[in-house]
Symmetry: C2
Subunit: 298 residues, 2 copies
């Protein structure tokens, strides 16, 4: 079943203890699409500027990602730059240039409107609501961030009431619910709308609350993380891609989807930007999925 | 197979967001023994003062814990008091009164000397070395803390070279190895001696490095943690108790031992001090073990 994603396509400049990458392909919708394209037809909705390199367009095409919804607007592409600490779990944003993203008004082509599965990447909740008005999905997952929780709570609560799944991290759960306890926080979020809540915990793996049920997925133990940028969006892409491929949201499928998301996210961390995730082959997914099985079984 | 433990027996005063507990039974060897007693004969080696209540002695007896090695010395029992934050993963030590523990010179009775399995609780590494000199264990696990890593590194390194398993948390791995990356940190510790390293991550579960192999155990999702004091020592008790009962350190046994440790630690967190762990029945262990199976399987 097809899957639409709305979110940023960006040029990232990233410094980590392992080195630096300048104006490299990034953005939530990029990582999401590259991951999800392993499982299903992806319709990408976003915007880039006139400076967006053709080679990135070519990469999307090679991966079979539908970019009819990727608008090219006058001006420069969204740029983000950040620096990670020696503790790779901590980063500072150095600069955000919204550029063409500032006036982004998502317009969904028919294929995206008709997609059964929809992922609303981390953009202004009012835009997420606008996308939902245009589309007819049966299952919607959403990402957000502290900025929107703090500044646009009303719109965020409005959209939370309309979606099926929220992918979120610990700190955002606290901002959103006032709960430091992740179980109570997830339950409160379920009361706000989404029956499925997936708290991402980075190097500690991921939890999944689906109705009353809970699943705990490990993180892949990595001796070196080169660049975690995009790992969360890659996770979402693997997760939603697998769900769309299986065309099921039963608990067994959701659990496997979390592992597929974790598998792909671990690859993203192995190189800067999309350097590794763009090269992942089906057999790489299979091998690492088996490694997750070994890691968790007892 | 029998199991000896050397460590503190204390009277704890603890404040958490859920309430307060005053001069309650605590100490590493206490939690360890209560957990391990479910699996095997435990020989407890420690010291208490003249003020140590008889009811606590009675509890050890009821649980079948051998306290021939629990010395009663002139003076007061070791006292610790601490306060947990609203974020229950953070605590401040308010007061430590070493009392009789200050001059503790462990003397192992024959049964403890002859135990095949030995746990060296978190005491001065010179004392841990002294215990090791007296005993003839075939498998030794050890706990330590930042204080010893910072102030007695030479003795700590000496004992690390002689043991089989180190149970440690993230922050201590960093102090000991300079590594924020838990995989690299664990590998460095393995190079220092113990072939098995078990990094405890509290609410994020526990990892197990055994030779080249890695296992990731989830934490039991708890909507309320009443008092996490002693959870780490309870974990160690369940872990070592199961290993001693099975009389095996193959990887499959070690993984199940991590889950048993996690099961018992989760019970400890449900009430103040030993209030819950002292009441755990075999069927409670079984039920929660099954919950861990459900939580982790995919």
């Amino acid at each position: 079943m097809s899957l639409a994603v709305v979110g940023s396509v960006a040029l990232d400049t990233v410094e980590t203890p392992a080195g630096k990458s300048t104006d490299a392909l990034g953005g939530a919708a990029t990582f999401f699409s590259l991951a999800a394209s392993h499982y299903t037809q992806v319709h990408l909705v976003g915007v880039v500027g006139e400076d967006f390199p053709q080679e990135h367009i070519d990469l999307f095409s090679v991966k079979g990602i539908d970019i009819d919804g990727l608008e090219r607007a006058p001006g420069a592409t969204f740029r983000w730059s950040g620096r990670y600490h020696d503790d790779i779990n901590v980063r500072d944003t150095l600069e955000t240039q919204l550029n063409v993203f500032e006036n982004f008004k998502p317009k969904l082509p028919d294929a995206a409107k008709n997609a059964k599965y929809l992922f609303l990447g981390n953009i202004h909740p009012a835009l997420q609501l606008e996308v939902l008005r245009q589309a007819r999905p049966e299952f919607v997952a959403l990402d957000t961030m502290n900025l929107w929780i703090d500044t646009t709570r009303k719109e965020l609560e409005e959209i939370l009431a309309k979606i099926d799944c929220l992918i979120i991290n610990d700190e955002e759960i606290f901002e959103l619910t006032g709960e430091r306890n992740i179980v109570r926080g997830a339950r409160k979020i379920q009361d706000m709308g989404p029956s499925i809540v997936a708290p991402k915990k980075g190097e500690h793996g991921c939890l999944l609350f689906a109705g009353e049920k809970i699943f705990s997925a490990p993180a892949f133990p990595m001796a070196e993380v080169i660049d975690p940028t995009g790992a969360g969006d890659t996770f979402a892409g693997g997760f939603m891609g697998y769900i769309a491929q299986q065309d099921s949201i039963d608990f067994a499928t959701l659990k496997k989807a979390v592992i597929h998301g974790s598998v792909l996210a671990s690859y993203t961390c192995e190189e800067f930007g999309v350097d590794r995730i763009a090269l992942v082959r089906p057999e790489d997914i299979e091998t690492r999925y088996e490694a997750f099985v070994e890691l968790a079984k007892f």
